[in-house]
């Protein structure tokens, strides 16, 4: 009997020590993971766009491709070659037509090429400020920072691993002033089409400080084209049939008119519009590559359509840019005119910006300003947004900012 108990105790202690060993092994193994949380004190929020665009053609095959690497507070060696930086934004490619409210769209991309900064970069991003989700803005150190852009070859090798002679080509080396907890967009621009001079434009955004309604959609406009672009000969400009009337650029001062169409099922620029929103004057836009002034936001109601139910709406937008004195009532050009000397350009904003109209018109394509997405029990639910439409040389870009919205319930 005594022996038996001894045996039992032995067995017990054996299994106990085995567990202990396994547990300590587990602890030991998991102890190898060291999580380092990075933190930036007093950050500013920055989003960077490379508006220098290029096309691959026979005539431009020897031109330098503006495929860049961005450095904030770089460390530069004696030869002027960057050897490190506080913040590096590598593989900065030309900007895409649509900059969406969330960086999620590029999360599925398999390419390293980044259409904006932070874009695909895994960095600390902005918080939700006054309801606006700033996850497309990176946290950067505030104060006076040195910012540098270097040309890099179009491949997948990170900048600092490139051969030394490929790191010397600096496009821009300048300083910018960032105030803590402010929201900025930084644009890399061509400022003169003839001399090819480039520069940056730092704009301090104010949308998060304005009393904006969530039943109105807002939009403002910029023309950041280079000097002399619309005047230049068509043979010097890239051809892109998707940009239709925008290819040749638009004149330095334009008035913008909004038409709101009832339904995205009608892919026709002659289809029914919402009463009061057929060629409604919205804004005046002047070419500006120098001063960082925020253009005023114009708005239109989210629930303007007849069948609007307060949950989802199917309206789409068309913006016509005319020279002063011209509007949709006295427009002398036929609807499909795409080369009118920059007097009239237009853009249709519907679906995801990939669906063209079936009618013969001259509009470029961008996504709908309103975001339709599954939220709560509603799929889709339509949300009002704050938008910026930027015209740069022969291209037009849309940036959409959205408020935080309720998560979907499945």
């Amino acid at each position: 009997m005594k022996n038996e108990r001894l045996y039992q105790r032995n067995e017990l202690s054996f299994s106990f020590s085995a567990w202990l060993l396994a547990l300590s092994f587990l602890l030991f193994a998991s102890g190898c993971v060291k999580v380092e949380y990075s933190k930036i004190d007093d950050p500013a929020y920055l989003r960077v766009f490379n508006n220098l665009n290029y096309v691959q053609t026979l005539g431009s095959k020897d031109d330098k491709v503006p495929f860049l690497c961005m450095f904030i507070n770089p460390v530069v060696d004696a030869n002027g070659v960057p050897t490190g930086a506080e913040i590096t934004g590598d593989f900065l490619d030309q900007r895409e037509a649509y900059a969406p409210p969330y960086p999620s769209h590029i999360g599925t991309s398999t390419s390293v090429n980044n259409p904006e900064y932070p874009g695909k970069e895994n960095v600390l991003v902005g918080p939700i400020l006054n309801g606006f989700d700033l996850s497309s803005w990176a946290q950067v150190p505030s104060g006076r920072v040195r910012i540098m852009f270097a040309y890099r070859p179009k491949n997948t090798i990170p900048f600092f691993q490139l051969e030394n002679h490929l790191k010397k080509d600096i496009l821009i080396d300048t300083t910018i002033d960032l105030t803590t907890k402010e929201v900025y967009t930084l644009h890399l621009l061509q400022k003169d089409f003839v001399t090819k001079k480039t520069g940056v434009l730092l704009r301090q955004e104010n949308f998060h400080k304005l009393p904006l309604s969530d039943s109105l959609a807002y939009v403002n406009f910029y023309n950041m084209s280079s000097k002399g672009f619309w005047e230049a000969d068509a043979s010097l400009k890239p051809e892109n049939w998707r940009l239709r009337s925008f290819q040749g650029g638009m004149k330095d001062e334009m008035n913008v008119f909004l038409s709101l169409y009832e339904s995205q099922t009608n892919l026709d620029h002659n289809s029914p519009t919402i009463p009061g929103f057929k060629g409604k004057y919205l804004a005046n836009v002047k070419r500006n590559t120098e001063t960082p002034v925020v253009s005023p936001y114009a708005s239109f109601p989210l629930w303007a359509a007849k069948d609007a139910n307060g949950i989802a709406t199917n309206i789409w937008q068309r913006f016509d840019f005319f020279i002063p004195g011209m509007d949709i009532t006295n427009n002398p050009f036929y609807a499909g005119n795409i080369s009118n000397g920059g007097n009239w350009v237009s853009v249709n904003c519907l679906f995801n910006g990939q669906v063209g109209l079936t009618s013969n018109d001259n509009g470029a394509l961008l996504p709908n300003l309103l975001v339709n997405i599954h939220s709560g029990k509603n799929n889709p639910a339509t949300f009002a947004t704050v938008n910026t439409i930027e015209v740069v040389n022969g291209r037009v870009y849309l940036t959409t900012i959205q408020r935080k919205y309720p998560a979907p319930i499945y």
Binding site: S17, A18, L21, A22, F25, V55, Q56, T57, L58, G59, K61, D62, K154, N155, S235, E239
Partner: protein, 345 residues
């Protein structure tokens, strides 16, 4: 404890027997020697001592022109190589070998003028059409203008691509020296000299020159004697002879072909230097030979109503794509503007 035992036991391996690698795959040198489509290239390798090198460790990429490609240059037997300057031959053959393994998949998609260093020491240019952005797969590769007709032949110490023509690098020789050496272009050279267009061809480039042969110029009434008799004040020189020169461009004929695949546009529009005349350069595979050919057409202006005044072509692949230090020279079989079309108004 049992877990630890398992972990320890996992470290023990029995000796494994791995099948011996196939030793019958020949190295690049032997492969070329034993292939009847590359007899002339093989002869050139042996003549230039590259043969033994190509049987060494490598890795190499061999760009092997076919016998037909050499025939097009007038080389029909191994003895024809004896007549050549051996140093030049060695450099040109060295230009056809890369000291690396470069499969077609290693070349960037739709890469234009991607440069790789050759065994000779200078760079060659690779252009490759892999896809059309509007949809569709493409598959054309050109090394310094020479088309690859068979890709990715694997040899023991590298890879081999078959070329449809011989690459024609001239290394440090500039366009002026190249033209001066060739009697075939003597009338063209005389015309360039007469209208003070000659000296620039020794300078910094880059240029693309469409060199009309003497026979081509004679057809439109330009001969050595007629140039001698010309009054330079009566003619627009930049038009009469400048029309064959493209400044600040270096185009292989294949470039236009590659862009027609990847960009749906093979045309290049160019305003003549110091003149208002307008040139359109394009190239494609000509029917019915399906060999690369280029066309140049001239109009008085770039307006839509300006008709084509004249056009010329070069469809002899073996005579195009002469890569010089400051540009590229193409042979032209039909000349462009006659003296009457270039009279000063």
């Amino acid at each position: 404890m049992a877990l630890c035992m398992l972990l320890l036991a996992a470290c023990k391996h029995d000796d494994l027997t791995v099948a011996a690698p196939n030793e019958n795959v020949r190295p690049a040198g032997d492969f070329v020697k034993n292939n009847y489509e590359m007899r002339l290239f093989s002869a050139a390798l042996q003549k230039t001592d590259y043969f033994s090198k190509l049987n060494a460790a490598g890795p190499f990429t061999v760009l092997a022109p076919t016998d037909a490609a050499f025939n097009a240059l007038g080389i029909y037997s191994a003895s024809d190589f004896d007549k050549m300057n051996q140093d030049s031959l060695k450099k040109v053959i060295g230009y056809h070998i890369l000291p690396r393994r470069l499969r077609v998949d290693d070349i960037p998609s739709n890469g234009i003028d991607v440069r790789y260093t050759t065994l000779e020491g200078s760079d060659l240019y690779v252009s490759r059409a892999s896809f059309n952005p509007n949809g569709g797969v493409e598959n054309e590769t050109y090394f310094s203008g020479a088309e690859v007709t068979r890709t990715d032949v694997q040899v023991a110490n590298g890879t081999l691509h078959l070329l449809g023509s011989v690459m024609k690098p001239n290394f440090t020789k500039n366009i002026q020296q190249w033209l001066a050496e060739r009697a075939e272009y003597s009338v063209f050279v005389q015309g360039l000299k007469k209208f003070s267009l000659w000296n620039q061809l020794a300078g910094q480039g880059s240029f693309t020159v469409f060199a009309p042969s003497n026979a081509a110029l004679e057809e439109i009434g330009i001969t050595s004697a007629s140039i001698e008799a010309m009054d330079i004040n009566k003619y627009v020189g930049e038009r009469l002879f400048g029309t064959y020169l493209m400044h600040h461009r270096h185009f292989f004929v294949s470039d236009a072909q590659v862009f027609s695949r990847i960009n749906s546009s093979s045309n290049f529009e160019y305003i003549l230097n110091n003149d208002s005349y307008y040139m359109t350069f394009s190239a494609s595979k000509a029917y019915p030979t399906f060999k690369l050919a280029y066309w140049v057409s001239i109009r008085a202006g770039k307006g839509g109503f300006d008709p084509v005044i004249t056009s010329g072509t070069g469809d002899i692949v073996a005579k195009n794509d002469n890569l010089c230090s400051n540009g590229i020279v193409h042979h032209m079989v039909t000349a462009l503007l006659s003296p009457a079309q270039a009279i000063k108004q």
